[in-house]
Structures are given as structure tokens and as C-alpha cells.
Symmetry: C2
């Protein structure tokens, strides 16, 4: 069962709320290096440059990082509010696809807006910190809840495929897709995990493999182009992935290559699950067509292990995400239950 | 049009037939280094260790390499024949999936077997060389012919996807899939080529990009997991790949990930073409289920740019090929025409 002390986590706030330590995921699994961003720009860069990644973790680090940084903001309340707004704009401009970031920043803005106009800076600092902590705590609780809803859907044996890293490292802890996979094993299921290496940044080969190995969950890495053959061979019984944004109609944006996994699952009649908290669901967007897809720098595709392997002068593409249509998704697993993707809007209304 | 002098080629036999130079494709695109294997073991290692790869090129290098090496075989005819048989066994044991290798070696064995029992070593050396040269010349002619049959099938614009390297570097010159793509551009079609990088060995990122750039064909590299999203976006109008072995029923073994491309094409209604010479078609196998799939060493998947990126102790899979069922293939383009995959057996009977 979940033991907060032993599990991997991508960030740690000290008890006094003075420093946020962020694990540099770019260096995993070789090195466990932690950074301590001390101003808003440093928090933004940690997100932009993938020190921390994963939709829920980005949101937590932005919120908690901001909560630490507001200690240095002006004591004059109007100037404090202006600096806070500026900081939220900067943090919003780091990465466009994952919606959790915008949710966490909105929670902070709304909590401040709800204060009396004459609230002092100390009060505002306390409110930012409480709101950020609540977001992060809520994320961990969500992961544990979605694991409970998702684990019973998994097969008893064979292999389960996952793509990218939707794990403890991508959340406040335990993980979305990998939380479901952890819980299934804890319940005694005997499947192994196949991790797509997930080019170009290799979150599967580096991060998913590392954190599952850490927790004793059997895992093997495959190149992204191998999953199809292993499905055809009957080895893969299910796929579980995370999400960066889910539209009202159940379309899911997630790491590039997720759509291909879903098409392969459909072709083979294999269930394809998405595990994500409600903070990932963006009811303002009618469909996946409206989800902005981040284009990242070409060197991520050109380079392997730090070395450029494509010929000089040849261009590359680097869309960081793709959209999987609702029709290819078996269930979306959230902290309130597992839904058909088409049920998401109705379930949202019931949640109120 | 085809200009033998300007095109890329993976091996060169000198006029006197004394040395075979083989381009070390492992070092492309960084370095153009050539090796000169001087005995059968060196030829075998050049194939096993991917100095040369690509089903037709492997066969040519095995045959021509053998033809060079038989100069050092015993002058006593019986011992010569025994050494030749031993050499054929060694070369056959290099790589199991591509069938062209076995075809080329069989041609040499049969040519020797057809000689009078008292043929001397000099005669046998000449026959081995002639047979090997005929195989290589035939391969080049096949590539040029299949380009003519395949090019009219290609779209006039948009992007055409290819996987791995089925190019000049994989053949005696010009290429199978890339020959078709070259010829289409020569005929004035305006498509660009998208090259899957093709993990783990990156034949697409390194070799296809390099040789198409060399010939002025517009090419961009994508990670293998990006093709699905670009198909969904309507950018990709067709896919053309090579083959390592084609069974009697039209099932095609080719580089790992080919099957996934075919499934994605089927999902999007995009034509999926296989270009391969008749030497790749193995009528002795009823279906793709019987094609042996080579499993290669784990370090190819663990390492990127020479650096291990998976955590120590985590296992990987490395099947080098997969099988695409005939039902997913629009046409198989050969030197005698483009066929529905189901027509291959009948076309073979007509060829006699």
C-alpha cells in the first residue's frame, strides 16, 4: 500500500515553506540532482526545460514554486497583487498543452481575488501557500483514488503497455497511469509492464523504467515502434496512459505517440485506458481539435544521448503531443471513477 | 535519371575483382569510412555488425565478398568445394530474416554444382565471381525497374512516409522504396519525404536522410511515434517501405515498426506500398508466421548516441523485424510490376 516516505516524488517543499526542491528529471536515471528555484523565472525555466514534466507535476511545481517566491514580493498590497499577476502570466507561458498548470494558477488567482481588497501581503502569501499546498495534496489524493478505480480493470497476467511517464514523477506522487499499474500489482495481479521508450525525450526508457524498478514492479523497455508486433503476438493485454488535457467530448491530448498506441489497440481489440485527474479535463474545449499542441525544439529529435545523429541541414518535426479521439478510448479513469469518454461531460455536470 | 557515378552505393568491387570495399554504414552520416573485408569471417562480421544492412545489399556483399575471398581457397578442387560450402554456411548464419542472402548463396552453390565434377579451382573462382556480379547487377536493374512501376502510384504532392532505409544504401544502388521515391520526384511529382527515424539503429534518421539529401530529394525526419499524428492531420498521402522477406500469401517481414505504419495507414485510408525485388519473395513459406524474426542485442535499445539511458538492471526487447499481413498492403511493387499482395503466388507461377 502507499507509503509516502518510500515512494518516488518529483518535488519536496520543506516544512517551513521556504524552499521547494525539484528533482532534475533530465538527468535521470544517471543522477539524482535536485534544484531549488528561488525566483519565478527559475520556476518557469524548470518547467520549460523539462527539469519537471508531466501535467499534474508541472501544476504542483508552478503553484508551490510561486508560493515560495511570493515571500520576496513587495509588501505593499497593490504592488504584491501586480507582481503575482505578472508571475502567473510568466508561468502560464511555459508550456501550452497540459491544462493542469492553468487550473492551479487560476485557483491561486481566485483565492487572492476572494480576499478583501485591503488584505495585506502576509495574508496573501499565506493564501497562496495554502492554495498551492491544497492543489498538491489534492493531486496525490486523486492519484490514490484513481488507482483504486483503475486497478480492477487491468488483466491478471500478460503485459500492460504504457507510454511516456504518467507516474510518481509526473504527479505529486504515486502517479496516474503508473499509480493504476502499481495498485494492480499491490492487489496481486501478475502482469508485467512494457514501457515505450517514448522518443524524443525518452521519458519511458529513463523515468518509467526507473520509478517502476524502484518500486519493484517488473518492467521492460521497448522502442516505440515495437508495441504493434508485441500486440500481434498476443503479449499485450491492455494499455494505460496519462493525459495532458481532455476535451469535453472525451478526446485526449497526451505525449506524442499515444494516438498510435490507441490505433494499435483498436486494431487488436485491446482495451486502451487513460488515467487522469479532473484537473486534466478541460470542459471549455468542445473537442481535441481545440487543444493547443506544443512544438518543441528540433534538437530533441536530432540528438541521441547528447550527440546529433541526423545529417546537418536535414529538418525534423517535433510535436510534443497528439490527440487520441474518444472513439479509441475504452475508459477514462479519474478519481471519481472510470467513465466512457463520451460520459465525461455528463459526469462533470453531476459533479457540479 | 539514373547516373551510376553520382548515386550513393554501399559497396564497390574494383575492376580486377581483387577487393570489395564496403561503406561502414554504422558511422554515417558523420563519417564515410570504407572497409575491405579480406576473408569470409570479415565479410560475415560486416553483415552481422551492420557495416552493411538492407536485404538486397547484404546478399550482394555476401556474394561479392565470397567471390573475392575464394581467391585464397585451396587450388585442389575437392578442398575448394569444401571451403566454399563452409563459407556459405558461415555467411548464411549471419542474419536470419532477409531471404535475399540465401538466394544469392544458393545461386553460387548451384552454379558450382552445375560444373563438371573435374572443374578446376580457377574455373570455379571465375564462376563464383560471375554469379556474384550477375546477382549485384541484377539487383540494380531490379531497383530501376521497380522505380518505374512504383512511381506512378505516388501522390503529386503532400508527404510520403518511409520507414528504415530501403535505399541505395540497402541495395546495389538506387534503392527499392527510395528508388520509387527518387523516380517519382524525377518525374516531376512534388511530394516531400518523411523519414521515420527507425529506432533502435536509426537507419531512417542517419541513412535515409543522408542519401535523400545527397540526391536533392526533400526529406524531414520524425520520431517513429509521430507518423500517426501527421496522418491524422492529413499531411501523409502514402507510405512506401522495403521488405526483408515476403511470404507466398503476401505477408511482408520488414524492419520493426513497419507493421505499425501499415496499421496507421489502414486506419486513415492511406495507401501502403512495399517495394522489393523478386529475390525478396520466398515462395517456400506459406505465410509470414513462418518467417524467422531476428532478435538483436539489448544494447541497441538501451543506448542512445553511444550512451546507455535505460536504468541498469531493466531489461529491454529488441526484435529487429515485424510482419505486416497482406491485408494491410495496397500493392507490392516488384521489377515486373505492382501486384496486390494476394496475387504474388499467381504472378510467380506466370514468371515460371
Amino acid at each position: 500500500m502507499f507509503d509516502a516516505e518510500s515512494y518516488v516524488r518529483p518535488f519536496v517543499l520543506d516544512e517551513a515553506g521556504l524552499t521547494l526542491r525539484v528533482l532534475d528529471q533530465r538527468k535521470l536515471p544517471d543522477e539524482e540532482t535536485w534544484i531549488e528555484p528561488r525566483d519565478v523565472e527559475a520556476v518557469a525555466v524548470a518547467i520549460e526545460d523539462l527539469y519537471v514534466r508531466g501535467a499534474p507535476a508541472i501544476a504542483c511545481v508552478a503553484a508551490l514554486g510561486l508560493a515560495v517566491c511570493v515571500r520576496a514580493f513587495d509588501d505593499e498590497p497593490l504592488r504584491f497583487r501586480a507582481q503575482l499577476e505578472q508571475a502567473c502570466v510568466r508561468l502560464s507561458n511555459t508550456r501550452p498543452t497540459a491544462v493542469n498548470l492553468f487550473v492551479a494558477l487560476r485557483e491561486i488567482r481566485e483565492a487572492i481575488a476572494a480576499l478583501p481588497a485591503d488584505a495585506d501581503a502576509a495574508t496573501m502569501r499565506a493564501v497562496v501557500m495554502s492554495t498551492a499546498k491544497a492543489h498538491a495534496e489534492g493531486d496525490l489524493v486523486s492519484c490514490l483514488a484513481m488507482a483504486g478505480h483503475g486497478a480492477p480493470l487491468l488483466p491478471d497476467d500478460g503485459a500492460v503497455l504504457t507510454h511516456c511517464n504518467a507516474g510518481a514523477l509526473a504527479t505529486a506522487g504515486y502517479g496516474t497511469a503508473l499509480g493504476v499499474l502499481r495498485r494492480g500489482r499491490e492487489l496481486g495481479k501478475r502482469y508485467t509492464v512494457l514501457a515505450d521508450e517514448t522518443r524524443p525525450v525518452l521519458q519511458g526508457a529513463r523515468l518509467t523504467a526507473w520509478e517502476l524498478q524502484h518500486d519493484g514492479v517488473p518492467v521492460e523497455v521497448i522502442a516505440d515502434n515495437m508495441a504493434g508486433a508485441l500486440m500481434a503476438a498476443g503479449e499485450i493485454k491492455a494499455a494505460v496512459v496519462g493525459a495532458d488535457r481532455i476535451a469535453r467530448n472525451g478526446d485526449v491530448a497526451n505525449k506524442i505517440g499515444t494516438f498510435t498506441v490507441a490505433v494499435l489497440c483498436k486494431h487488436h481489440g485491446i482495451p486502451f485506458y487513460v488515467a487522469a485527474p479532473w484537473t486534466t479535463i478541460d470542459l471549455s474545449l468542445p473537442s481535441g481539435d481545440e487543444i493547443p499542441i506544443e512544438q518543441r525544439k528540433p534538437t530533441e529529435v536530432m540528438c541521441h544521448g547528447g550527440k546529433q545523429l541526423t545529417p546537418a541541414g536535414v529538418g525534423v518535426r517535433n510535436p510534443a503531443f497528439d490527440v487520441t479521439p474518444a472513439a479509441l478510448i475504452t475508459k477514462i479513469i479519474t478519481e471519481t471513477g472510470a467513465y466512457d469518454p463520451q460520459e465525461i461531460a455528463a459526469a462533470a455536470s453531476e459533479r457540479g
